[in-house]
Symmetry: C2
Subunit: 157 residues, 2 copies
């Protein structure tokens, strides 16, 4: 189904929350801790903690230890793309197993595979999609990139 994992979902929610607190007009610059996010969105605390650790290790957010500690965005919300977030959690985008094959490590079908090239094209397009949308776009209600097609008009924003 081309689903993205729950962890990545949580990462998106958390980052959106951090961004909106940090750059909001209520308490700008405030540090946000794990517990606050977990309670706000009903996310299992421990799992969220692990997700945030990964994001921190990947350099998307910076952690502050000790009491009054918490997390802050490492860069501005407009400099963090959805692709970066998802890939931080799930690893490089790979629509099919053979996307990033190296050396002799390839699938059984490789020699006669007729779908690899087109699939890689699709994957590339999806990546562009995710990489052209930033955390900032997700918050403000900023215009999103859209591919015009008569078939789909379902989503309002």
């Amino acid at each position: 189904m081309l689903k993205i994992s729950k962890k990545a979902d949580y990462a998106l929610m958390a980052l959106q929350h951090i961004a909106s607190v940090q750059f909001g007009d209520v308490t700008p610059g405030r540090v946000v801790n794990t517990k606050e996010i977990a309670e706000e969105y009903n996310i299992p605390l421990e799992l969220l903690a692990k997700v945030l650790q990964v994001l921190s290790k990947q350099g998307l957010i910076e952690s502050h230890n000790g009491p009054k500690g918490g997390y802050l965005l490492a860069r501005s919300a407009r400099q963090i793309t959805i692709a970066q977030i998802i890939e931080s959690i799930e690893g490089p985008l790979a629509i099919t197993d053979c996307s990033h094959e190296k050396d002799g490590d390839f699938c059984m079908q490789r020699e006669h595979c007729n779908i690899r090239t087109p699939l890689l094209k699709i994957q590339d397009s999806i990546y562009q999609l995710l990489n052209n949308m930033t955390l900032g776009d997700m918050m403000g209600g900023t215009p999103l990139i859209t591919i015009q097609s008569p078939s789909a008009q379902g989503v309002e924003r």
Copy 2:
């Protein structure tokens, strides 16, 4: 990682193969059986059989029983989109769990969820991507001859 399943991979390979045999210039119109495809691409026979059954049930291919039996495309290769193939196998495209929530069935985070709308936008874009590419488009390398079989009428795009 936004991966598509092996079954869907197999489906794509199989359909591409059937299409290239059926519309190729060597033995146009020939019926292709499961074993032939399985051996050509090193796909487990039984698994491929099940995949083909689903495709047949979904109306993408038609099956012919008995000896000398096999499969044929139900429509022209240009009328079968990648989206249709993948969705036949994996069900409706759902980038996140709450994509197709109905009634009271929604995720814990729903009430404060801040990422649902943007994610649905992305999902929609991906769908358009997949739905704008047909089996015919995938057959770039192989003989892309538009000899129409009696049962399939083609549409140029």
